[in-house]
């Protein structure tokens, strides 16, 4: 078991929901817990902070069991979704609140508040009242206040969800910068997969009170452990495995031939839209020499311009296939191609170990 960082095994049951989650966060890491609403990610944070009681399980922070400590002795700071700035105190009093509890003298408090405010780029905001601050400023003050007590762990509960899109992007960069400057172990809860992918060292995907997958962003995006993770962390197309004989193009010269081998259970394939090639001239063959699936006579249902690409939804034999194209197709009927190495296979929603003859991943 790691001596550094957070190791938790949380168990709690509520009226209509059971939480049973195990995961670890290395010291100095920024981990994101992500999942749809109601998956238990906020509950997980409150269990770590001690705001909700645990039933069994264990909670180790830097080698110390903190599962039975009261909230205020855990040295875990938390930034709440609504920031929870105390409305009867100004910015300085808010940030100095934990310092006063730790009995720092006035001069030291003043100095530390100034330092924290410059860390969150709000120099000179000491005397402002929290009602006078914008959403983004409140968020920064809440962060400064959480950092004031030198916590061993920082918890952020959807800290950007109340802000508009542009500010959100800017502030998540700020949070990353502040994290890198302080090096504090951080758990960040969000429901926004883009936010998680861009900010986190490690992503923990939760669903219905359980951890579905834990790992680096790239891993989770490219090798989702289940169909749930695959569809939650970005877009893609799910098709039954049985369409393969109809669509497989297996060049004999290929060194990695694809063998059709259906399995028991609901056997499906999944691929991301950016891995689909779109060909609008039927007479030209797909420029592909490796095994791939070819969907002929797919009808373009919609074509949305996204700036750097077009997002197409095509209908092929009753299935909808999502793809990204760098140009707008000139014809209604197109041919789509996906390299077999881009295809992930799932049986009953769970990723299967690739059988020997299927291509190995990249």
């Amino acid at each position: 078991m790691a001596d550094n960082g957070l190791t938790c095994s949380l168990k709690a049951s509520y009226k209509d929901f059971t939480l049973d989650a195990q995961f670890t966060v290395q010291a100095g890491e920024l981990a994101c817990i992500i999942g749809p609403s109601g998956c238990g990610k906020s509950t997980t944070l409150q269990l770590i902070a001690g705001l909700l009681p645990q039933e069994g399980g264990s909670l180790l922070l830097n080698g110390q069991d903190i599962g039975q400590k009261p909230v205020h002795q855990r040295h875990i700071a938390m930034v709440f979704q609504d920031y929870a700035l105390f409305p009867h105190m100004n910015v300085e009093q808010n940030i100095a609140y934990p310092l006063k509890i730790r009995k720092l003298n006035r001069a030291k408090r003043k100095e530390r508040v100034a330092r924290l405010l410059s860390l969150v780029a709000l120099e000179g905001y000491q005397k402002r009242r929290s009602q006078e601050l914008s959403g983004g400023e409140r968020q920064r003050v809440a962060l400064a206040r959480a950092l004031a007590s030198d916590p061993q762990l920082l918890l952020l509960d959807e800290p950007l969800s109340a802000l508009d899109a542009k500010l959100r992007k800017h502030l998540r960069e700020e949070i990353r910068r502040i994290h890198d400057e302080t090096g504090i172990t951080t758990v960040y809860v969000t429901h926004d997969q883009e936010e998680a992918l861009s900010i986190a060292d490690r992503i923990i995907v939760m669903h219905a009170g359980r951890v579905m997958q834990e790992g680096k962003g790239e891993d989770i995006y490219h090798n989702p452990a289940s169909l749930f993770v695959a569809t939650f962390m970005g877009e893609g197309t799910t098709l039954p495995y049985s369409i393969i004989p109809k669509t497989l193009v297996n060049p004999s010269s290929s060194s990695e031939p694809f063998v059709f081998k259906p399995l028991e259970g609901k056997h499906t394939i999944f691929f991301r839209p950016e891995h689909v090639m779109v060909q609008d001239d039927r007479n030209l063959p797909l420029a592909e020499y490796l095994p791939h699936l070819s969907f002929k006579q797919a009808e373009v249902q919609s074509c949305e311009f996204q700036g750097d690409h077009y997002r197409l939804a095509c209908s092929w034999e009753g299935h909808t296939i999502l793809c990204h194209s760098s140009y707008r197709p000139k014809t209604q009927m197109v041919t789509l191609g996906v390299r077999s190495s881009r295809i992930r296979e799932y049986v009953d929603g769970e990723s299967i170990a690739k059988h020997p003859l299927s291509p190995t991943g990249e």
């Binding site: 902070a49 001690g50 009681p53 009261p70 205020h72 875990i76 105390f86 009867h88 009602q131």
Partner: protein, 564 residues
């Protein structure tokens, strides 16, 4: 496998509600126990005979029926007066509207003895209204002779209670989604059909809820019936309980009667709570106010709005203003006309030799002030500790919240009766009498203070407390530095409410106190009884002053303390 753990601050939460529970149990259930036990226990031991006897007696049955009748009629008349006003306020914007709404808060804070006095001064044979009508139409006789009759009771109840219905219904009405009416009209219904089929059904829960509240008030009305009813033929339950206990010395019968009262009040409260819940469910309450820029379009509409505004002013403010005016008037000799004079205030402050009951006025003023101060100081910690405990178990139907509201199920006359029965067993001196008055007022004030503080406490997001805990503050420190400062306003309002409630408390005090105990309302009652109305008006003006402060404070408190 729920482990005992300290992270939920069990000890804090176990200790905090203790004082309030103990206080409520002692102050509420002990007197209630005394009352009920004397209903069932006589010298011969436990018996149901007395209860049976009282309940089958034709006189009692008559009283019960009369109590229900007067409450029903009063509620109907209040509805009749209030609903047009509610319509005007909800549909139109006109001058004086905000003032009417502000004034309609007055009945919530005004003590009933003041209503009685105002009614006598305003509607009485020598009152302002008769004087006005006589000089307007050159009459030699007062045209309105309504005092000390059934009419007087209904009229007083109506003018005391219609603003309650008006403000409750109109505020609900204003928040109804106006698009429903628009939709109905686009679907082909005319205005009348729209009102009957779309507006009225949606409004009905609010009307029922407000009417039940008023019915409850009228059912438990005491001072108005006691003074304005003017005799045994118009006796209600509450008055009869008082009469049996204090005039006929038959506390056993009084206790048996209070059983009926408690039962009915409890049923009414349950019904009222259910109607409130229905109200909360019945419509998604719109946050944005519907746009009312419309002024009455027709001349008739304008006239009606004007008439309604003026008469509400007249009837809500008239009695109060006339009390103040009368207090500054005295006649220098028996036959001379009244002119401006400070005579009653000089008598009140003992600067001049006082006659009759005015002699005890200054003492009563000091007593009332001291009692009210004590009550205000004691209710706050009790209510606060209950709030904390209630907030913690928010998700469950809180037993404590119910406990805190329980004193409302028992009318103040019965609380007074309970304390009277205690005092007759203890045989303490005058100091004990005053202590019992304070305790009775405390029981009466706690539910109101709880209702003032609890909603404000619920407005504090849990994340404030949680974030204070994660920042390293313990539970007590969090309470002192986060909750307490945020509740300052509500606590102050609650304390003022408790103070005013105690200053104006009449029913319980009259029922429990012997003749040597004097408080402001008691002396007012005695002065009215001996026809020294101006003297009563001087005391009443002081009460009005207190109520005005409460009124202003509660209007300010509506703005909320911290906008988030």
């Amino acid at each position: 496998m729920r482990k005992a753990n300290n992270l939920q601050y069990k000890r804090f939460y176990r200790i905090v509600p203790l004082p309030s529970v103990v206080v409520l149990l002692l102050l509420f259930f002990v007197p209630l126990f005394f009352t009920l036990s004397s209903a069932f226990i006589t010298e011969e031991g436990l018996t149901f005979l007395r209860v049976l006897e009282v309940f089958t007696d034709s006189y009692t049955v008559k009283i019960m029926l009369f109590t229900l009748l007067q409450a029903t009629l009063s509620t109907l008349f209040s509805l009749l007066v209030a609903l047009p006003g509610a319509y005007l306020i909800a549909t139109y914007s006109f001058r004086g509207k905000r003032l009417i709404l502000a004034l309609s808060a007055i009945p919530f804070v005004i003590p009933s003895i003041l209503v009685v006095l105002g009614f006598v001064i305003f509607f009485g044979n020598n009152g302002f209204l008769n004087g006005l009508l006589m000089s307007l139409f050159n009459l030699s006789e007062p045209p309105l002779k309504i005092l000390y009759s059934f009419k007087a009771i209904i009229l007083a109840h109506t003018f005391y209670n219609f603003p309650i219905i008006m403000s409750l219904v109109s505020s609900y009405w204003e928040h109804l989604d106006a698009n429903c009416e628009a939709a109905s009209q686009t679907l082909g219904a005319n205005k009348v059909q729209t009102f009957l089929k779309v507006t009225l059904p949606r409004l009905l829960p609010a009307i029922i809820s407000a009417a039940s509240l008023v019915f409850l008030f009228c059912f438990n009305s005491f001072a108005i019936i006691l003074v304005l009813g003017g005799g045994p033929q118009y006796t209600t339950m509450e008055v009869e309980i008082y009469r049996q206990a204090r005039m006929l010395g038959n506390s056993g019968a009084a206790a048996a009667l209070s059983l009926f009262s408690i039962l009915t009040t409890t049923l009414l409260l349950i019904w009222y709570n259910a109607s409130q819940r229905r109200l909360a469910r019945s419509e998604t309450y719109q946050n944005s106010k519907r746009i009312i820029e419309k002024r009455p379009a027709t001349l008739l509409g304008k006239l009606l709005a004007l008439l309604y505004t003026l008469s509400s002013f007249l009837f809500i403010l008239g009695p109060i203003v006339s009390v103040v005016i009368r207090s500054f008037m005295a006649s220098s000799s028996r036959s001379a006309a009244e002119s401006f004079s400070l005579k009653w205030y000089r008598q009140l402050l003992s600067l001049e030799r006082a006659t009759g009951h005015m002699g005890s006025a200054l003492g009563a003023l000091t007593n009332s002030t001291l009692i009210a101060l004590l009550v205000a100081l004691c209710t706050i910690p009790v209510a606060l500790s209950m709030c904390i405990a209630i907030r913690r178990r928010e998700s469950k139907q809180s037993f404590l919240e119910l406990l805190g509201m329980l004193p409302m199920t028992v009318s103040s006359v019965i609380i007074g009766l309970g304390y009277y029965l205690i005092s007759s067993r203890l045989r303490g001196g005058l100091p004990l009498g005053y202590v019992l008055v304070v305790l009775a007022h405390l029981v009466i004030a706690i539910p109101f203070v709880l209702r003032t503080i609890l909603p404000e406490y619920r407005k504090i997001p849990l994340s404030y407390m949680h974030s204070s805990l994660t920042l390293g503050a313990g539970r007590i420190r969090t309470f002192l530095q986060i909750e307490l400062p945020l509740l300052k306003g509500a606590i102050f309002t609650g304390a003022i409410f408790a103070f005013a409630l105690s200053m104006g408390e009449f029913n319980a005090t009259l029922t429990l106190a012997n003749s040597s105990i004097t408080t402001l309302p008691i002396v007012m009652y005695r002065l009215i009884g001996s026809y020294n109305f101006q003297g009563a008006c001087a005391l009443g003006t002081i009460l009005i002053g207190v109520c005005t402060i409460v009124f202003i404070v509660s209007e300010f408190a509506k703005g909320g303390t911290y906008g988030r």
